[in-house]
């Protein structure tokens, strides 16, 4: 997938001016907050479960080599094959090889973020194989040739009119005057079309939310049932999974499942939680005859032992982006790659490079809401701060910012000077701004006033006020 993260500022400006997107964000965000809050309130153990989940993931990461080898051995015992892939290239090739050996012409797909990361669809298309996205949201994005804007609600930036327009444009064999004004009609049309694709597909590709080491199972969690149709009907099932999805046992998965749906959609449990273990057994009347797990590193093993290791606990629930004021203002596409919001701001620089994605960890107010809702307690603001430090160390920060920070640091190390300077600056601004509540423009501060007003300082500086109050006690 093309990385447009370097253009974050331009992307964000465009998003702020996009009326449709702003409507979608405005109606959805409060609902997301309310749903998670209700689910959390209904489960008194929720906060303790977050601690347990964090500990399970930490334990797994500290022994990840052992658990991956155990997982792989158990997949093979159940007649499956594991394809270990260090890079995205290797993974794309592995998927293509499996499809070719299966003689595949069409491939159905369940929603998978790692598939977006690898660019599986483009790769298959280049080699004459037709991938069909079957998640409702992913399906319309494929029709519109757009990337997802959210990791669990990929098309949530679109409004009903967008759906209707795309369906009329793409499903040209249907009567042009058919009614499509209601959600139900749109969903029925997609259901009918995709049902035919499910039945015709030669290979089904899904992601995996968890890999259970104990049993060699891949787990998918969906509400539509498309993932299950994808992996049940074709002769070959391919599960794509990055290495950090491993968990030791079914009991460990229970804890993570209790947090996943509640954090994501506010459901106690998603509709379909499905454990796949190997190939069709003798006597089984359905299910795939071949089962492949494409196990992808893609830069994750380098995060182990680094200050970013905590990020590998992520279970992709999207709570952080649902609660992020920046995401809530600019939506997912602005982030310019597969993973938006706070988790993306940490992960994207790791996977595509901070030189390209340096804007993302800066696109945060550090309000801390993401960390406060993360089901596995990832210290997201702290990790974004690490990226800002690295960016500065590697001289990727723009020169004016560096000079400004240097100037600030010089003063900050000289408290008397610092106080004098702030006193002077505040006093000057107060004088200049007499009679108006805020500055609409100010020399040298165009970057600030371009997007918002600067309030005129009132009263003394913080230190002056502080001293006054101390004296008064």
């Amino acid at each position: 997938m093309l990385v447009t993260s370097p253009q974050f500022k331009r992307n964000a400006a465009r998003a702020l001016a996009d009326a449709g997107l702003q409507k979608a964000l405005g109606t959805t965000t409060p609902q997301m907050h309310a749903k998670r809050a209700a689910a959390r309130a209904a489960l008194p153990e929720f906060e303790r479960l977050r601690d347990v989940a964090r500990d399970i993931k930490n334990h797994t990461l500290a022994n990840l080599d052992f658990y991956l080898e155990t997982f792989a051995a158990n997949v093979e015992k159940a007649g499956g094959r594991v394809h270990w892939c260090s890079t995205a290239d290797e993974a794309r090739e592995a998927v293509l090889r499996i499809c070719r050996e299966a003689g595949a012409r069409t491939v159905t797909k369940g929603k998978s973020m790692i598939s977006e990361e690898l660019g599986i669809n483009e790769h298959l298309e280049r080699h004459g194989i037709t991938p069909v996205e079957t998640d409702l949201g992913e399906y319309i994005l494929q029709l519109r040739d757009e990337p997802p804007s959210h990791i669990i609600g990929p098309a949530f930036h679109l409004n009903r009119e967008d759906w209707e327009e795309s369906f009329r444009r793409s499903h040209t064999d249907l009567p042009a005057d058919r009614p499509l004004g209601e959600r139900r009609q749109l969903m029925d049309e997609a259901r009918t079309r995709l049902r035919a694709r499910f039945l015709a597909a030669d290979v089904g590709i899904t992601g995996a939310n968890f890999l259970i080491a104990e049993t060699g199972s891949t787990v998918i969690v969906t509400n539509e049932g498309n993932g299950d149709l994808t992996q049940t009907l074709p002769r070959v099932h391919v599960a794509l999974a990055s290495i950090e999805k491993a968990v030791p046992t079914l009991e460990d998965a229970c804890t993570l499942l209790r947090l996943l749906a509640r954090s994501a959609t506010g459901q106690d449990m998603s509709v379909y939680t499905t454990f796949s273990t190997g190939v069709r057994r003798e006597g089984d009347l359905d299910g795939p005859e071949e089962y492949h797990v494409v196990l992808i590193d893609g830069g994750r093993s380098n995060m182990i032992g680094s200050e970013f290791q905590d990020m590998l606990r992520c279970i992709r629930c999207a709570a952080c982006m649902n609660h992020c004021p920046v995401y809530g203002a600019v939506g997912g596409h602005s982030y310019g790659w597969v993973y938006p919001g706070p988790m993306g701001s940490v992960l994207t620089p790791t996977l595509v490079g901070v030189d390209k994605a340096g804007h993302l960890p800066n696109a945060s107010t550090f309000c801390g809401r993401c960390e406060s809702v993360c089901p596995v307690r990832i210290p997201l603001p702290g990790l974004m701060r690490h990226w800002r430090e690295r960016e500065f160390e590697r001289h990727l920060t723009p020169a004016t910012v560096r000079r400004g920070l240097g100037l600030w640091a010089w003063f900050a190390r000289r408290p008397a000077m610092y106080r004098a300077a702030t006193r002077l600056a505040a006093g000057t601004l107060r004088l200049l701004g007499r009679g108006r509540g805020a500055f609409r423009a100010l020399p040298l501060a165009g970057g600030w006033t371009g997007g918002r007003d600067l309030p005129v300082p009132e009263g003394g500086t913080f230190m002056a006020e502080y001293r006054k109050r101390q004296r008064g006690r």
Binding site: L68, I243, P248, Y272, T274
Partner: protein, 255 residues
């Protein structure tokens, strides 16, 4: 090879070589014990309330149910459901011995085939292995008697569930599976596929508004057989031994 490259890279990050044998043995011990983690208290209830919690959660998730006193009452419950929804009296049914053992002739108009689901099935009847009160979830391990497609292809999924198979927490359902199933291929307990189903299929992908019946069933209806007291555990061993119908020869006893 990539396998070694990935494992080496992980170990470099962890600043160690392959796990020392004593530590690996400890982890193997943890896998063998598969210790339970924190289990929410909500499902620790006296028996009748546990069942009520399951039914409440099932309905909260847009499922429906009917309670019947015994298996003999199942045909009537199924027939009533079909009539109430204006559906033709025919369905695909799991070739499960419990379902095949029912005397369907009580409702001679019902026509069914014991087999996997077909794309044309509007209605299917499946047999649940267990159910979980905590979340209103049904558990379907795949085997020759419980084809997975029956959970997915129809518009209306009817499920026969014994009340005695409703447990409190998800962990307890795994305990049943661990105790009662042997997989013919691995010797473990995990079948090819286990589906945990909580309500009918749905999507909120269009304008974040929930609609039922996205790709899977639009309706999920549980026929709950009140059998508390004479709990029929599933016999361990090769599940095919229980299966009456074999692939390729659909049983049609009710025709």
């Amino acid at each position: 090879m990539s396998r070694e490259a990935i494992l080496d890279s992980i170990r470099r990050g962890l600043r160690r070589g392959p796990l020392p044998e004593d530590q690996a043995a400890m982890l193997r011990g943890r896998l063998a014990r598969h210790p339970r983690q924190l289990i929410p208290a909500r499902s620790r209830l006296p028996r009748p309330e546990q069942l009520a919690l399951f039914l409440r959660n099932l309905e909260k998730e847009f499922g429906s149910f009917e309670r019947v006193p015994d298996l003999a009452a199942v045909p009537e419950a199924v027939a009533d459901y079909l009539a109430a929804h204006n559906l033709p009296p025919q369905f695909g049914m799991a070739p499960h011995p419990v379902l095949l053992g029912i005397d369907w002739s009580a409702r001679p108009l019902l026509r069914f085939e014991a087999r996997r689901a077909m794309p044309t099935d509007e209605v299917t009847v499946q047999h649940a292995f267990a159910a979980i009160a905590e979340t209103g979830t049904l558990m379907f391990p795949a085997d020759p008697t419980r084809p997975t497609t029956l959970n997915l292809l129809p518009e209306h999924a009817i499920v026969v569930l014994h009340a005695s198979r409703v447990v409190g927490a998800l962990e307890e359902a795994w305990d049943l599976l661990r105790a009662e199933r042997r997989d013919p291929m691995t010797g473990g307990f995990m079948p090819r596929n286990v589906m945990l189903v909580t309500g009918p299929s749905r999507s909120a992908d269009i304008e974040s508004t929930l609609e039922l019946g996205a790709h899977g069933p639009r309706r999920l209806h549980v026929v709950l057989v009140d059998d508390e007291g004479d709990a029929p555990a599933e016999a361990p061993g090769d599940p095919r031994a229980e299966a009456v119908a074999q692939p390729g020869e659909p049983a049609v006893p009710g025709d």
